[in-house]
Symmetry: C2
């Protein structure tokens, strides 16, 4: 028999409730979902059949015969996630809750091109699957983050400035051929925003995540979902021009971009000019932690400039919170203090009265959390569940 | 019997298809909705029962006995819409497609407070209903736009700067008591954005609508829906600060706001300083249309400054298009030319390659279209349809 979109939507609704980890009885599922009792029973059976839900009969009873309870089964399948940067990748195998089972950091050079980089990532992913003791056919899917703009629908990079050879490359097709599971690709800042939101700020409907590292980018969550924009380049704040620094050249070819004055690379260059040798964001963070006053001054000023651009975004988007992440956010409170100083001064009182500006809590794992959960949420969406249920019905 | 959320979602899906005005056979509805044949039949019966769908048996046949076709019935109910500004309101009675049946412009003073203003609007609304030949119980609902921030969930204005006496006033409760139908309230720029989008740019998933009049504000459409932000003040671009005009005082108490240098009021003040008397946006438009060179220069410069702020919004949001509306947008191509000049220079190539920047097409009716369609879309949502179907089932 066929599975209707309404049935799959019901299954997705139940999964959406159970994914918080708390087991529920049928009666609770009926009450919380607003679905009818018979629909709940049928959909729970579907989900038991797919293995996504299990019986949790040790649920606390209120006396008498305990009612059957049902729980999300995060171990039903696994996800391979890779957060690929310019010079290294973090690769994990996660369960369906996003929890990391095994992980590895892998040095690489993004400029060596997609075949070389993806071969490395796939090989290491296969090793990790084996280390996790999971078979290839247990893979629900693969989530990849790349350090440049990606057309999310096709998974192809579009004009990525620091990724020679990747423009238009069919990343999902290539990886799927090797690993045999569905592949979703997005840019690194988007997956970090998703990971940060899902693991720490789930209650915020609207969030901005700012990655301050070699470059500067922003991932937007609106109504709880990643917002990508019409060409998938939403959040590209690194190349917003600051009017009062119009002489500073940017690697993008323009002058006066935020990235040219406030990124880790820009700060390292300024410090080197002052005879304080620094090359990377990490060097800047080390100097800041060692108490270097010129470094702290520069970091705070970078925060103010990021704050200038964010103030406009706050006026337009009225988010619940802003999360500052990326390597440079590890330089202590100075970066975030500069951001707060300007955002709270420049934005409207109504837009800032409940606005929180905080440091990333997911830290280095933000990207892999996001890549894994992007795959899980896609696979458990009504559209994909329709296909899964239909395939099972046909089997 | 009870109506499940899945059934209401099915009904909403079918209505969503039929609202484009094209009649469809059951087979077409099955094909386009992805729903099962029996579900389509049941849901069409529900919608026939509510009067929202009618039989359209003059549908073109491909030979043999013509298949029954079904069409959305925009005349089933009516909506009262009011776009209330500082000094006047436009009030309409519309059908469920948003088409205006009768309309009236009404002078008023927003500062006379909510009781006086709402009494006027309600009285004129009742007159209009009568002129349209429709009874009070045919009212699906009432949509109101107000010239200040509104907490959409409660319909109460929050700290509206030009609306003394309105802060926290229960607008929906007050109007509902008088007219006996559900009331939705939003700020004027949001309803203009919705009206413009729904009548002319429905294919754009992400749109910015900028109202340039006495003040400057922006309404955001993301994923086809109004985006309001966490406190409902998204799009408040009028008080974004421009760094290079920091000496100009704004009515908000700050200095250097966009509104202080690029609004109709600001331009009128600049012209008056040059011994060209002007008081309102309308005066500026008249001068521009008469070819006053100082006016055209100021209007173009205002466009550039609006463009500076929009360039940052374009980098963050990557919209499909920007619509420029409001009284000052009637000053010819000069305003929009200034906007285009800066946005295309300042924003990223990927974000502007398909970006369109256009003049409002809905014009003065944008607000009432939006207010009416806000009510229709809310009433035809799955949640509200569940209630309507349940009420009918219980009757």
């Amino acid at each position: 028999m066929g599975y209707s979109s309404a049935q799959a939507a019901g299954a997705a609704t139940l999964l959406g409730l159970l994914r918080d980890g708390r087991p529920r009885t049928r009666a609770e599922l009926v009450a919380e979902s607003g679905m009818g009792r018979s629909s709940v029973t049928e959909r729970v059976d579907d989900l038991l059949g797919l293995g996504l839900v299990t019986r949790a009969d040790n649920a606390p009873s209120t006396g008498g015969r305990p009612a059957s309870a049902f729980a999300f089964n995060p171990g039903a399948r696994v996800v391979l996630a890779a957060d690929v940067g310019a010079t290294h990748a973090k690769i994990t195998v996660s369960d369906l809750s996003g929890a990391v089972l095994v992980e590895e950091d892998l040095p690489l050079d993004i400029a060596s091109g997609p075949e070389v980089v993806l071969a490395l990532v796939c090989a290491r992913g296969e090793d990790l699957l084996e280390r996790a003791g999971r078979a290839r056919d247990e893979l629900l899917g693969i989530g990849l983050g790349l350090p440049g703009p990606v057309e999310h629908a096709s998974g192809r990079p579009t004009n990525p400035p620091i990724m020679p050879g990747w423009d238009g490359f069919d990343v999902p097709g290539h990886v799927r051929e090797r690993l045999g599971a569905p592949v979703l690709v997005d840019n690194d800042v988007n997956i970090m925003a998703l990971g940060e939101h899902r693991t720490h700020w789930y209650d915020w409907p609207h969030m901005l995540f700012v990655k301050v590292a070699t470059g500067i980018g922003c991932g937007l969550i609106t109504d709880g979902r990643l917002y990508r924009g019409s060409q998938g380049v939403a959040g590209d704040m690194g190349h917003v021009q600051l009017p009062h620094v119009s002489e500073v050249p940017c690697r993008c070819g323009n002058v006066g971009c935020l990235e040219a004055v406030a990124s880790g690379a820009a700060l390292a260059a300024r410090l080197t000019e002052q005879d304080i040798p620094a090359r990377t964001s990490g060097d800047v963070v080390s100097l800041a932690r060692s108490g270097s006053v010129p470094t702290l001054t520069l970091v705070r000023q970078a925060g103010r400039r990021i704050g200038e651009v964010l103030a406009t975004a706050v006026s337009f988007l009225n988010p619940s919170g802003i999360v500052i992440g990326g390597a440079l956010s590890q330089a202590g409170e100075h970066l975030i203090a500069g951001v707060r100083e300007v955002v709270y001064r420049r934005s409207l009182p109504l837009a800032t009265q409940d606005l929180r500006i905080v440091q990333s809590r997911a830290g280095e794992r933000a990207g892999v959390y996001g890549a894994a959960l992007m795959v899980v949420e896609h696979a458990l969406s009504p559209e994909r569940l329709t296909a899964s249920l239909a395939a099972r019905g046909a089997a």
